[in-house]
């Protein structure tokens, strides 16, 4: 029904990824696991249930990746809650400014060798 709208966001997303140099075309190498991909669609609704934004996200089906061949370490740290609270409490005591930023499409920035 609203396919043209979805189509539009798909091409937009592809264009962004392409412009960022996310991939290059290559002949499939032999004996290599080629990971598949799919689209994930999300329609963002406002409080009345009206669709305000269509989102398309290209995702890889990472479950077919083989450890030790397609990927190695996976650990990535996040701040512990006691660190957050300690820093907030002391920062508040010292009258420091507290702000917040969010990075868009964070994962798309990672480099692969």
């Amino acid at each position: 029904m609203d396919w043209p709208l979805w189509n539009e966001v798909i091409s937009e997303e592809l264009e962004t990824l392409h412009a960022a140099g996310t991939w290059v075309f290559e002949a499939a190498p032999l004996n290599v696991n080629v990971v598949r991909s799919k689209w994930v669609f999300k329609a963002k609704e406002d409080t009345t249930g009206k669709v305000v934004r269509y989102k398309a996200c290209l995702v890889t089906q990472g479950y077919s990746q083989v450890p030790g061949i397609d990927y190695f370490d996976m650990y990535a740290p996040v701040a512990k809650l006691p660190s957050v609270q300690t820093v907030l409490a002391i920062a508040n005591h010292q009258n420091m400014e507290l702000h917040h930023v969010n990075i868009k499409g964070a994962y798309l920035n990672g480099n692969l060798i």
Partner: protein, 393 residues
């Protein structure tokens, strides 16, 4: 990567896409992103990574200080001046696309309120509480003021026995309900930490009585959802202060419960309620064991604060309600009762000896960590909860 369905640009014919950047869904994406972010902060922007929490970065340029706390794509910035924040945001924008969310008011589902005139900072998860109450259909439940019924001891004796009881418990979302409370106990509600560790012991095979206990926690939360974990100016409040306590080994397996809480500026920043690994023969021994457990956390907090905000020159006070355990951290008295204690627990003597930590006596009535080791009557729960920094904002 195989091209997505419907994607056929010129030059593709039959080829695959060789990925140069990570995409969502790859196993290594999270790590690669963290490495990229580390590169941005350290190599490009001159930040230093904290040694004891690798997701915290900071930059000193006396008297300026900027601190960044990272949760994947969420960056919380604390800085001594607004100019530093503006500068940071501009420099970050050169590397990645950024949404500026302005002043900190929401982080990881925790609402943050700040009152700059009174130097108060409040944290709350009211909307998370409302959401889980809705999820388990307890929105209209009657609020209660005691967290756990002090008359009831929960044990494996209450596990479902008959077929009817097993059938009844099969459809109860016990693990889900306990799991949903876990985040609260970790983030802003030290008061429910003990209750949750008590009920989660029966996760594998809960009985009716255990489910009633879980529902009671929800009812308690309903009555106290307006409590905010508050940090505000207290005299000498910027000092780290610790409370440590153990219960009297009354559990059916005779293992004591350790509880500790560390406070800064009148609010808890780190707390724990945990069953001890060993069976102890006296309360002194259990208190000694929990003091060691707390000492480890104190050392970690000390390194964190020292590295980011400058060295801690004072001795950290650790309040304990057992005189014998305090004496034990200084001298080797009570030899006959201590023959069996493992050498590893004497680690605390070294920490006390080098002046990092000092154990101070505190009467049981003022022992805030009491609420982390046992079920208490309503008045005590209220008193200790307020002492931990949970107040109505």
């Amino acid at each position: 990567m195989r091209p997505p369905p419907g994607y056929a640009p010129e030059g593709l014919n039959g080829r695959v896409l060789h990925l140069k950047h990570t995409l969502y869904g790859l196993k290594q994406s999270g790590r690669q992103w963290y490495q990229k972010l580390t590169w941005i902060f350290i190599d490009s922007m001159g930040f230093v990574r904290c040694d004891v929490d690798q997701a915290v970065f900071f930059k000193h340029a006396d008297p300026d200080l900027t601190i960044i706390i990272v949760h994947v794509d969420d960056c919380t910035i604390a800085a001594t001046s607004l100019a530093l924040i503006t500068d940071f945001k501009e420099r970050l924008c050169a590397h990645v696309k950024v949404t500026d969310l302005g002043e900190l008011h929401w982080l990881l589902g925790i609402e943050i309120k700040r009152n700059c005139t009174h130097q108060m900072l409040h944290l709350s998860q009211c909307s998370y509480i409302a959401a889980i109450l809705r999820r388990f259909n307890l929105e209209d439940a009657h609020p209660v003021t005691t967290l756990m019924d002090i008359q009831i001891r929960y044990s494996s004796g209450q596990l479902p026995q008959t077929m009817a009881e097993i059938a009844e418990m099969r459809d109860v979302p016990y693990c889900e309900a306990v799991g949903s409370l876990m985040y609260l106990a970790l983030a802003t509600r030290p008061d429910i930490a003990f209750a949750i560790s008590a009920v989660s012991r029966f996760n594998a095979n809960p009985g009716r009585a255990h489910w009633e206990a879980v529902k009671r926690i929800y009812k308690y939360l309903k009555g106290t959802s307006e409590m905010w974990l508050t940090y505000g100016v207290f005299e000498g409040g910027e000092r780290l202060l610790g409370y440590t306590d153990a219960d009297g080994s009354v559990g059916e397996d005779r293992r004591a419960i350790s509880g500790y809480a560390f406070l800064i500026d009148g609010g808890a920043v780190s707390w724990s309620s945990k069953k001890q690994e060993i069976v102890s023969l006296s309360t002194m021994e259990s208190e000694y064991v929990v003091a060691v457990h707390s000492a480890k956390e104190a050392l970690w907090l000390k390194s964190l604060i020292s590295q980011i905000f400058g060295p801690i020159t004072y001795t950290i006070d650790l309040l304990c309600d057992n005189q014998s355990a305090i004496v034990l951290t200084q001298d080797h008295q009570y030899h006959t009762r201590l023959k069996h204690i493992d050498i590893r627990f004497h680690f605390i003597r070294w920490v006390v000896d080098n002046g990092t930590l000092h154990l101070t006596y505190c009467p049981t009535g003022d022992m805030v960590a009491d609420v982390l080791t046992k079920a208490l009557p309503s008045a005590k729960v209220k008193h200790f909860t307020a002492q931990l920094g949970l107040r109505t904002a």
